[in-house]
């Protein structure tokens, strides 16, 4: 084997090693990060009672209530299986709204309410001007209306 071929094999082996390390890193990222818990896990009391952890999910619609001091907000977070009530004093991020994803960091009080020190909002992959997003929404609604009326017409014709 020539010296150049030897080096090629060595670099090839290094790349195989790198690929293995990548696979391990990615599988580690996929498994749950230890201090993050879903509302279901919190309801099943899998969370730590004496340490700060994070809970994440969607803000339940019509649960956001601003308290009298003007800074404290109460809302509920769900993973579509369980619901955790959250209390937070501070300024909410811009992307925070009902129905959107959030991650809250804090601890559970004795009353079962999650007292958050920090509330982070998530964003999603759709980047559309408002007009386009509205048109898509209308087209979607129109499509549903069309589908339902289209399905009804032949039935009413046979009756």
């Amino acid at each position: 084997m020539k010296a150049r071929q030897k080096r090629l094999v060595l670099v090839g082996l290094a790349l195989v090693g790198v690929a293995g390390a990548t696979t391990l890193a990615l599988s580690a990222l996929q498994s749950n990060i230890s201090y993050f818990f879903s509302p279901s896990q919190v309801m099943a009391s899998e969370h730590p009672t004496d340490a700060v952890f994070r809970v994440g999910g969607l803000v339940v619609k019509d649960t956001l209530a601003r308290q009298e001091d003007g800074l404290t907000v109460h809302f509920k977070v769900t993973d579509n299986a369980a619901v955790v009530p959250v209390s937070y004093t501070g300024i909410l991020p811009d992307l925070f709204s009902e129905g959107q994803g959030v991650v809250a960091k804090g601890r559970i009080g004795t009353d079962g309410v999650f007292y958050a020190e920090e509330v982070l909002a998530k964003h999603d992959e759709s980047y559309m001007p408002p007009e386009v997003a509205d048109t898509l929404q209308t087209a979607h609604v129109d499509g549903i209306v069309e589908q339902t009326t289209g399905a009804n017409t032949p039935r009413s014709a046979t009756q």
Partner: protein, 252 residues
């Protein structure tokens, strides 16, 4: 007709070619970046709609996303030249790798910095140990580590080899950054970056973003070639052709 590509692998042959290419890449970069920035900052929608109602601050993506793409691409270039250098022992490959590193580090820093400025209003924090943020930070450390390791070893050939090995091992980070948002259910993960897909970006936003990317890419060529010429002159200082070049440039 066959082109003898190995001819260009000689630093003496590539030095004048790089010199002729720099102004062209520089002009294209300036034009595309100015067009991209003006388009992105003034001619696009003032805010986003639908499920991602970001306000005016969303415009940071016209710098942030192209910089992040370039940070990953330039790392592939760095590792690629390092591997070629290790296998074929070609001098120019190592010089190319060394010339790419600072530009890659700058773009990684730019991506992290603009990301922090965007994250504060939208997510509510400058920094989070989100998988993508963390892996991008590690990429920045890899660039810095490559530069530091190279300058820590006095013997240029040994420095080239050691730093090249580090670059190849660090290749681990690029797919990790790229795939760090493959969370099956967003509500089960603490990750703030969500799955992204150019298909769900409206064309009026995507095209200025791609214009900026091409502009930054063109800038990278110009900056890397300029740095490469300095490296070539420094390393080949003992050769006769370098004295010829310097004599010619001194009279010009």
């Amino acid at each position: 007709m066959t082109i003898n590509w190995f001819k260009f692998a000689s630093p003496a042959a590539f030095y004048p070619i790089a010199g002729r290419l720099i102004p062209w890449f520089g002009r294209v970069a300036l034009a595309l970046v100015l067009i991209g920035l003006f388009w992105g900052f003034f001619l696009t929608a003032d805010q986003l709609g639908g499920s991602n109602p970001q306000k005016e601050y969303y415009r940071i993506i016209y710098v942030h996303v192209p910089a992040a793409w370039m940070s990953m691409w330039l790392y592939l270039v760095l590792a690629g030249w390092s591997a070629i250098g290790l296998v074929f022992n070609t001098r120019l490959s190592f010089m190319m790798a060394k010339a790419v590193a600072p530009t890659g580090a700058i773009f990684t820093f730019l991506a992290l910095w603009t990301g922090a400025l965007w994250g504060r209003p939208s997510w509510g924090t400058y920094w989070d140990w989100d998988p993508r943020l963390t892996s991008e930070l590690l990429l920045f450390f890899l660039y810095i580590g490559y530069i530091a390791l190279h300058s820590a070893i006095d013997d240029t050939r040994r420095a080239d080899r050691a730093a090249a090995l580090l670059a190849i091992v660090g290749l681990v980070m690029v797919p990790v950054i790229f795939l760090s948002i493959n969370c099956p259910d967003p509500n089960q993960c603490a990750a703030l970056h969500q799955r992204s897909d150019p298909g769900s970006i409206h064309l009026s936003i995507l095209i200025p973003m791609l214009t900026m990317t091409l502009g930054l890419w063109s800038y990278s060529f110009a900056a890397v070639f300029a740095r490469l010429r300095t490296i070539i002159l420094t390393r080949e200082a003992d050769h006769a052709w370098v004295s010829d070049v310097i004599a010619k440039e001194a009279t010009a």
